[in-house]
Symmetry: C2
């Protein structure tokens, strides 16, 4: 089956807002074997909306539309859908009660304009919105079944998963292809090299498609499988996954999409271990990542973000002689920072970064992109110097953090170099 | 004049990549008075590309197309453009030399497939690409002038600015409208309330359009002006801007799009002042924001990310009695943390956060979303308790940081409460 996606709204049309919904929906639809052939975006213009809906209805079997279901006068989607289908708008009692109960739940007053949100095209089927006031609905226009969803991403995602995908799957019936995606997250290989290592997977496992996705500085290797027979599919995916994992080796961070900070947090928890940080060039980003994980207070105790040498000495106990002899960006300084963080935090491990994120501060010897990572554990401590050729401050901060976490990850797994 | 935008490529069509190019191009075109009426995306499918180009050529005066100009077999844009215009592809000597010189400059070997990039539709006008191998071109199809650009964002942006925008301006001639956008960044007002405060600007200043844009947790109030007479436009924009600034009052962070951390950094620099931080619930995000600003080492000295009570006591010198009596999330604890950060860093100011970001850890008395901000300056120190009803960990971390910086900003400006 073929599908199209329509994003509506002046904010997206005029470029004030980037449309990330259409990519998200395409990916979900492709995963269940529906081919997305076109995305369109038009603004809040009734006659253009009506004609666009009719065009799409004429071309494909299914469509997902986002936006324009809100309470204000420039929310025109329901009216346009009714116009395109040649039907009237009628107040849906169920939709009205859903909106009403939403306002009660959050103790907010309901206005007249919210009543408008319960006006749906005749013949449409209501889709309940558990997280917002805008109800969704489905409606046949021309030969195509349209699903109308709110434009707010988290509302759209929830309704796509709970209503649209299940209905699309049941419409496909016996012809429904099962599909599976395996995401292998890697760090430390450039995209081109990661691609080369696993390029043979499509030839070795017919029916498996390979995709690479850069989520800087992590690279995701994705294996897509599609098959009517589910057992066969699962077996082939498992074999192809194993094949790819062997080729990617210790660059593999996770097999389930989990990010580095989640993996490191889990490894610490499993070992009843804890971490203290000392950050110079990463400026708090490393601590921020680790503490983005809910429950991280169980293993994250402390980070000393020590930009100044004074703070490195006073807070972390780095020796003034070390700074004098080697400077702030050096393996030994980083090692002493990690030791200091471990001691101060009273944690099992200490991890530190000291480097040059740029744009200024680089020298011939230590150009922008140089970082020294310090590690301190129960048995040993060391500093290691790395260089990344990206040149941009925010990219450098990210890759420095990722490199530091990767050193800790390998130590925790006993695969450190 | 009306325009459309076409993004091409299977990566975008299938959702593997979010199309941010179309929003960027729309915004630039709208700024010079060209109305963008529709965005479309289709994949690497020759016949669909040809028919889509013809449809667009039939509807509007100008179009910008991105993607599909690379050297590989699924780069079909030049072939599709020739097909839609009913002309042949011919090797452009100039394009070939441009590609050749690019490879020479970077000392990379040129392959046969790169030769394909110099094949352009007859009658097209070459656009030089200074930062990549894919040449762009313009070509009339039906009634519409198409500009074909690479899909790589920085190549597209460079060529849009250097070739497309100047040519579009000259095509508009005397009818060219000047346009101006003023961005007022605010914090502390919900979007609806910010909107209400400035809703009257369109009536008070005819020709000015109002736009609101949530960039959580900041709200941008945008004023758009468009006018043939530039002097008149500038005057009206200045008056409307002043009008809006007065209504938004001390919630205004900047008038030039600058983010909170940039504004606070500038205020510190101007005063030759410096800052030390103590972060609990914000987990390093506050330091990360401040150190994202290049040159921040001039005023940012230290942050102690103290998740554990032990670190609050040992590192920051918070009194154990204070923690015992009030707990970690309290005005007095926050105040002592700020004092400790200021003392440790040897900085002019100290700023701290201690709160409950969630999802767990909330109590009836201190629910998730509660934060205490501590401030310490040369003359006084205080703690302040705030509550935000968002409930999500990452949103809470952001708004807690913004609230802390806003307290410092108001103290620096002498407009604190």
């Amino acid at each position: 089956m073929k599908a199209e996606i329509l994003a509506t709204g002046d904010e997206i049309r005029s470029g004030a807002l980037v449309d990330s919904n259409s990519a998200f929906i395409s990916e979900r639809l492709e995963e269940i074997g529906i081919e997305v052939v076109r995305h369109t975006c038009v603004g809040d213009d009734l006659s253009l909306l009506v004609s666009t809906l009719r065009e799409i209805g004429d071309r494909v079997d299914m469509a997902v539309v986002t936006g324009g279901l809100g309470p204000t006068t420039d929310d025109l989607t329901a009216e346009a859908a009714a116009g395109a289908a040649g039907v009237e708008l009628t107040l849906s009692q169920t939709a009205f009660e859903n909106v009403e109960s939403f306002f009660k739940k959050f103790n907010r007053p309901m206005t007249d304009s919210n009543r408008k949100q319960a006006l749906l095209p005749d013949g449409s089927k209501l889709m309940y919105n558990p997280v917002g006031t805008a109800p969704g609905f489905s409606l046949k226009i021309e030969k195509c079944l349209f699903f109308f969803l709110p434009g707010v991403p988290y509302e759209m995602k929830r309704m796509l998963a709970e209503h649209v995908i299940p209905e699309m799957l049941s419409l496909q019936g016996d012809a429904a292809m099962h599909s599976r995606v395996k995401t292998i997250t890697t760090f430390g290989l450039p995209e081109s090299l990661a691609g080369e290592k696993v390029a043979g997977v499509e030839a070795a496992f017919p029916g498996i498609k390979l995709g690479l996705r850069a989520n800087f500085p992590q690279i995701q290797v994705k294996l897509y499988g599609r098959e009517i027979n589910l057992a066969m599919l699962d077996q082939r995916m498992a074999e192809a996954g194993q094949w790819a994992l062997e080729r990617l080796g210790r660059n593999v961070i996770s097999e389930n999409g989990e990010r580095m900070e989640g993996v490191v947090g889990r490894l610490l928890l499993e070992r009843s271990a804890s971490i203290g940080l000392a950050e110079s060039c990463t400026g708090g980003l490393l601590a921020n990542w680790l503490t983005n994980v809910a429950g991280s207070s169980a293993y994250f105790f402390f980070s000393g973000v020590t930009y100044s040498n004074k703070a490195k000495i006073d807070v972390l106990g780095v020796k003034p002689e070390t700074l004098e002899r080697h400077g702030a960006v050096h393996e030994e300084t980083a090692r002493e920072m990690a030791e200091g963080a471990r001691r101060l935090a009273g944690s099992t491990y200490g991890l530190s970064t000291s480097g040059i994120a740029g744009p200024d501060g680089g020298t011939e010897d230590k150009p922008v992109g140089t970082v020294c990572v310090g590690y301190a554990g129960p048995d040993r401590s060391f500093g290691r110097r790395l260089y990344f050729p990206f040149g941009k401050r925010l990219m450098n901060k990210k890759i420095f953090c990722m490199a530091a976490l990767d050193i800790l990850r390998k130590e925790l797994l006993g695969i450190g170099g």
